[in-house]
């Protein structure tokens, strides 16, 4: 589904991504872990065209998308959420999800001003279904800026799903959540978000990652240091050394 080949990105002297080659198969939930600053979010940013790659190439489902503009990548069926939460604070919860449909390739430009009644009603119903599924239905008319953190994360997820993406990039979807909220988010990803699409998840929460993901990749200094099934990766000596620390190895 997503393939990168020797993908690199440097900021000044800092090598955020160094010749990273990855392949994510269709339909899998792929975990991306590593220390802060190891290049995980940079990978999402390069894939979605926020930063151009310094070198290397990216393919999405067989089509090369290296250095396309963000909107072009997104229109090819990618959606993402953000580590530091980005929502349209001055819009309502409903409008935030509705907004994700503005750029759908199936929406004709004319419909931005003069919607077809039936199609628009169907799309609005879809927004409501997504709010229902993510447990935000009763807050649809609230201004999104006033939501508590876990709800804002769910709103980001709902917004991403409104694009019905083939590839869903989730950047710390459970960041700052309590264990209980984390479990709820994991269930939401497993039952609502993942079916029928490919997911990549960045997380620091190992319980969640190992329960959710079929395969993991560990980054350090922009390089891949391990890849494979969670069990194997999380006991890999390099991973213990660079990310989990020595103690975990002894425990």
């Amino acid at each position: 589904m997503l393939r990168t080949e020797a993908l690199s990105r440097a900021f000044g002297g800092l090598q955020a991504l160094a010749e990273l080659s990855l392949e994510v198969a269709p339909g899998e939930i792929f975990g991306l872990i590593g220390p802060n600053g190891s290049g995980k979010t940079t990978l999402f940013n390069v894939v979605t065209g926020v930063y151009p790659a310094s070198a290397g190439r990216v393919w999405l489902g067989g089509e090369e998308i290296t250095n396309l503009k963000p909107a072009q990548v997104i229109r090819r069926g990618v959606a993402r959420t953000f580590q530091n939460l980005r929502i349209f604070q001055r819009m309502t919860v409903f409008e935030n999800v509705w907004a994700a449909q503005h750029g759908l390739p199936t929406l004709r430009p004319r419909e931005l001003v003069l919607p077809d009644r039936a199609a628009e009603a169907e799309r609005r119903a879809e927004v409501r279904r997504l709010l229902e599924a993510t447990g935000l239905a009763d807050r649809a008319e609230m201004l999104a800026g006033g939501l508590p953190l876990p709800d804002q994360r769910r709103l980001e997820l709902a917004r991403a799903l409104a694009r019905d993406p083939a590839l869903l990039l989730l950047d710390e979807p459970a960041g700052g959540m309590t264990p209980r909220e984390t479990e709820a988010m994991a269930a939401l990803i497993r039952e609502v978000a993942a079916p029928g699409r490919t997911c990549m998840v960045i997380e620091h929460k190992m319980d969640m990652i190992s329960a959710l993901c079929g395969r993991l990749c560990v980054l350090n200094f922009g390089r891949k240091i391990a890849e494979g099934a969670p069990d194997a990766v999380l006991s890999h000596p390099d991973v213990l050394e660079a990310y989990l620390g020595h103690e975990a190895g002894d425990a």
Partner: protein
């Protein structure tokens, strides 16, 4: 030496700290653990006087310092090594150190020069780079500069906000060695960390902050035995 009593700090309507009570003992390394958004940085900002608590008090050496201006708190003897290092990128290393001594209005220039010399002795790499712009330093060197800059205020208590964040494991080892050395030289340290494994090796006491509340208070031994903390902050293998 530092006593935080029932502190509530809020941004607008949202309370980031919901009544936090903890103490940092003289000559000890105290560690605060907690997830992102739990309020750790808010607590640091409250102690350093940048944020005013809505309720509660902060006492340092039995004196109430709640709501004092940041400058006064630095002068009282609390310095912060901020999260993400925050060096002044377009100032030289030497100027960064001088900025660290900004609040020492009473000290003579020669005294400050002596302290800078002491910093260069402690961190020889900073001496090599003393006329370089701080922004050109590597992450690890910037972290050292950030620590040295805080020490230039001659603090009795050093607050360190996630000093290992985004740093390579080897550098993290180095930073923790510095923490041990500073402690040996008599500085009390209040350490905010996510790297619980490293913290376990140095800290004398642990607090866990979750959603603005202290949810654990105990020694390293007690912490290592607590199963919930095990799973959340130490263990990965139990569930893996």
């Amino acid at each position: 030496m530092l006593e935080v009593q029932d502190v509530v700090t809020a941004y607008g309507k949202i309370e980031a700290l919901k009544g936090v009570t903890l103490r940092v003992g003289e000559g000890q390394i105290t560690c605060l653990l907690g997830p992102n958004g739990a309020g750790k940085t808010t607590l640091m900002l409250t102690i350093t006087g940048i944020l005013k608590p809505r309720r509660g008090s902060v006492r340092f050496h039995d004196k109430d310092i709640t709501g004092q201006a940041p400058g006064g708190i630095v002068r009282a003897g609390i310095a912060l090594v901020p999260e993400n290092r925050l060096v002044f990128p377009e100032m030289t290393v030497a100027e960064n150190l001088r900025a660290g001594a900004y609040s020492r209005t009473g000290s003579a220039a020669s005294e400050i020069a002596n302290d800078m010399e002491a910093m260069y002795n402690r961190f020889p790499r900073l001496r090599e780079r003393s006329t370089q712009m701080a922004g050109t330093l590597s992450g690890g060197e910037q972290q050292m500069l950030s620590v040295a800059r805080a020490l230039m205020a001659r603090p009795k208590l050093l607050l360190m906000d996630e000093p290992s964040l985004g740093l390579a494991p080897m550098i993290v080892e180095e930073i923790f060695q510095i923490v041990r050395d500073l402690h040996k030289d008599g500085t009390s340290i209040f350490l905010v960390e996510q790297n619980a494994h490293m913290a376990l090796q140095v800290a004398h006491h642990f607090y866990l902050l979750e959603q603005g509340r202290v949810t654990f208070d105990g020694t390293p031994g007690e912490m290592a035995e607590d199963e919930v903390i095990q799973r959340a902050y130490l263990g990965t293998r139990q569930t893996a």
